[in-house]
């Protein structure tokens, strides 16, 4: 990877088993400067109808990842967003392990001077993470399991940037 000339300052990435709290993470970011005018955030959760399935109700997703690569991949997404929109700070948390229906999976928060940069950077990081960070979901139904297929809509979402 080519060294950026200027380093992103406040980018906090965590890959963890534990759940997260949106307010706690947002308050941490709000401390990063009186110049923060807008904070955009996104939470992805396990939907009951994550998959159209003949296999009964979804119970949980099991999320596998590639530990040595995940952190740097997500940081690279943040770095790209930072170069484009120059936000003040961001936090990304992605959970791994077994997550039941309704559980929070991923959190992205971006604090910026103005709302436009906050929204754009937050959505970009989510879209980029979806198509480049090494996470895989296995769906657990009542009587069976299956790996979730990648969606072309995610690749298309990334192409628009």
């Amino acid at each position: 990877m080519s060294k950026p000339t200027k380093k992103m300052t406040h980018c906090n990435v965590s890959i963890q088993l534990e759940d997260f709290d949106l307010s706690v993470e947002t308050r941490e970011l709000q401390k990063r400067g009186a110049d923060i005018g807008g904070i955009a955030s996104f939470i992805g959760a396990v939907r009951s109808s994550e998959l159209d399935s003949q296999q009964g109700a979804l119970r949980a997703l099991e999320i596998e990842h590639y530990p040595a690569m995940t952190q740097r991949s997500v940081e690279a997404s943040c770095e790209q967003a930072w170069k484009r929109w120059g936000f003040i700070a961001c936090t990304v948390i992605h959970r791994v392990g077994r997550l039941p229906v309704g559980a929070q999976i991923v959190l992205v928060i971006v604090a910026a001077r103005h709302r436009k940069e906050a929204f754009a950077a937050c959505e970009f990081i989510m879209d980029d993470l979806k198509t480049s960070a090494p996470f895989w979901k296995k769906a657990e139904f009542e009587n069976s399991t299956c790996w979730v297929d990648a969606k072309t809509s995610d690749t298309e979402a990334m192409d628009k940037w």
Binding site: M126, A133, P134, W147, D154
Partner: protein
């Protein structure tokens, strides 16, 4: 040596999470994949699928990427995080 890792559905299909393969000067990713298929049998041909992703030293690369001795090579299906 090249350290080779497999993830998710690929890991289950191959029933293998990691293996070591001797380094051969000049090999690119696709040459390495062919060597694994030759040795492992037809079930391993999934490595040659167009949609199979390859990362070298934790960065996604093209299948024509040239390997170096000591590289960590990972094969996996398209990612589905987020």
């Amino acid at each position: 040596m090249i350290k080779v890792l497999f993830f998710a559905k690929l890991r289950e299909q191959l029933d293998c999470a990691a293996k070591s393969v001797p380094y051969q000067a000049g090999d690119d990713v696709i040459a390495l994949a062919y060597r694994l298929v030759d040795k492992g049998g037809s079930s391993w041909s999934v490595l040659l699928d167009k949609e199979t992703v390859c990362a070298v030293n934790q960065q996604i690369v093209e299948h024509s990427f040239i390997l170096n001795d000591g590289d960590e090579v990972a094969f996996f299906p398209p990612v589905t995080g987020g």
